[in-house]
């Protein structure tokens, strides 16, 4: 039986994170999850709307546009939608926000991150994940990068201090999660435009740590983390005169490879750091079988 969810792409999915949207759609389809894009959705305000009342109103307008549970692939949108749902449990906040909305927020809504949806589909009763996994990621060492907002505010899908949901998925897909000390260190993406110097040093620290952990690649859950670690990687390499060369795949691209989806279906040609080394490794594993 297929699952139907409302899909909230978020602005980045339509621009610098296009391959996240492409691979999200492909993976959901392969797993039998039907996505219906929320009609006329608006930006959630990300981390740039300091007025919390306004930020809640922006998320509420998106939430009332569907009766289905909402899924998003962006950790920032996910955190903002979750925070709004939590704040809207306060009757005063709800009344105030409803003054501004055309469709009123009348009952508590539900939001899921794509990683939850993938795991639910692979772990559903009566399902053997291996029915879906046609290309095990055996031999691939993956650095699980969480960034900050997937599990914050606390009380969500995993520990906000030391989560393991991504390691769990990597293992199900046949890969090996490496011990990655800085997996929760913020990528500083939200301050990157006005404060690039500050962000660059932190990013190098994260990339060096991922490399030291012996990873073949880093996998991420947020388009801003991806922009900072992938598109930014050649810029950082020039700036620090240091070679990194570490492919950074969205969790959906990594899952898609295991599901046997193709390079184009996963938007892999859009990544800045070429994923060729990983594809070769998988190819070698396949021909060695």
């Amino acid at each position: 039986m297929s699952i139907k969810l409302a899909y909230y792409p978020g602005c980045v999915a339509k621009s610098t994170g296009k391959e996240y949207e492409i691979s999200t759609q492909a993976v959901c389809q392969a797993l039998g999850v039907e996505l219906e894009e929320i009609d006329d959705w608006n930006c959630c305000g990300a981390t740039h709307v300091s007025n919390q009342l306004l930020a809640t109103g922006l998320s509420a307008r998106n939430l009332v546009r569907t009766k289905l549970p909402v899924m998003t692939s962006c950790s920032i949108c996910y955190s903002k939608l979750r925070s709004a749902i939590m704040r809207l449990e306060d009757p005063q906040m709800r009344a105030k926000v409803n003054q501004a909305l055309e469709v009123k927020y009348s009952e508590k809504r539900d939001v899921k991150h794509v990683i939850e949806v993938i795991l639910e589909a692979l772990e559903k009763d009566g399902i053997d994940p291996d029915d879906f996994i046609v290309q095990s990621l055996k031999g691939l060492k993956v650095a699980p990068y969480y960034g900050c907002l997937l599990t914050r505010p606390g009380g969500g899908i995993d520990s906000p201090e030391n989560p393991s949901i991504l390691e769990k998925l990597i293992r199900i897909l046949g890969g090996e999660p490496v011990d990655f000390r800085l997996k929760m260190k913020c990528c500083c993406g939200p301050i990157f435009v006005p404060e690039d110097e500050a962000a660059s040093e932190t990013l190098m620290e994260i990339l060096r740590d991922a490399k030291k952990s012996g990873a073949d690649l880093v996998t991420v859950l947020c388009p801003l983390c991806h922009l900072m670690l992938d598109a930014n990687q050649p810029i950082l390499e020039d700036k620090f005169e240091e070679e990194i060369g570490l492919p950074v795949l969205y969790v959906t691209q990594l899952t898609g490879l295991a599901l046997g989806l193709g390079i184009e279906e996963l938007g892999l040609e859009m990544n800045s750091v070429s994923p060729e080394s990983i594809l070769n490794k998988l190819e070698d594993a396949r021909s060695g079988e």
């Binding site: 306004l54 105030k96 900050c148 006005p194 810029i235």
Partner: protein, 190 residues
């Protein structure tokens, strides 16, 4: 005397936005120790809270720290008094903007907010272009990103900016829930 009234009003305003529990801060410094950008800040988060509780408005609002916060929420997850230190930072940014104060970071937020109000969504092309016009010193790093992303088809050159249908409702959301200074109208038309 006027200073004292101003001080008390500032403290009250922040507490209203960030929560009365801020008063229970024991200055333990867990927030500062958890902050990924603490080493770059002139005043760590713990000190910002001290400024707030002491009614030291200028020290708090003019601290560069409030613009370095990445909103990662680790301080908020860890605070042993269940205070939301990040909400204190948001409150300070909010008051800063509400008073019409401006710096490059608040300009970025105001451009971001105006895009949402007028278009419904944020176009990275329009936003970066406008920020660049206002802050030419950021040209090199914004352009180097453009060089990386444009050939991949990840930047839409969209001078007019597509709009969602619900912009009237968004205007209403900004009017009812926002302040006049959340949004800054463009000084440079592009």
């Amino acid at each position: 005397m006027i200073d004292e009234i101003e001080s008390q009003k500032f403290k009250k305003d922040v507490l209203k936005l960030a929560g009365e529990e801020v008063k229970t801060c024991i200055q333990c410094g867990t927030c500062s120790a958890s902050c990924p950008v603490a080493h770059l800040m002139d005043n760590p988060i713990r000190k910002l809270i001290k400024f707030v509780l002491g009614g030291m408005k200028e020290e708090a609002l003019e601290s560069r720290s409030i613009w370095l916060c990445t909103s990662c929420l680790l301080c908020t997850v860890r605070c042993p008094r269940k205070i939301k230190p990040m909400a204190v930072v948001s409150a300070l940014k909010h008051i800063y903007e509400e008073e019409g104060r401006r710096c490059k970071d608040s300009t970025f937020e105001a451009i971001f907010a105006r895009q949402i109000r007028d278009r419904g969504r944020v176009s990275e092309f329009l936003m970066s272009s406008e920020f660049l016009l206002r802050n030419p010193s950021s040209a090199v790093h914004i352009m180097s990103f453009g060089v990386e992303l444009f050939p991949k088809g990840k930047i839409e050159i969209d001078f007019w900016g597509e709009r969602i249908e619900g912009t009237e409702e968004l205007e209403q959301i900004f009017q009812v829930l926002g302040d006049a200074n959340d949004v800054e109208d463009a000084e440079v038309e592009i």
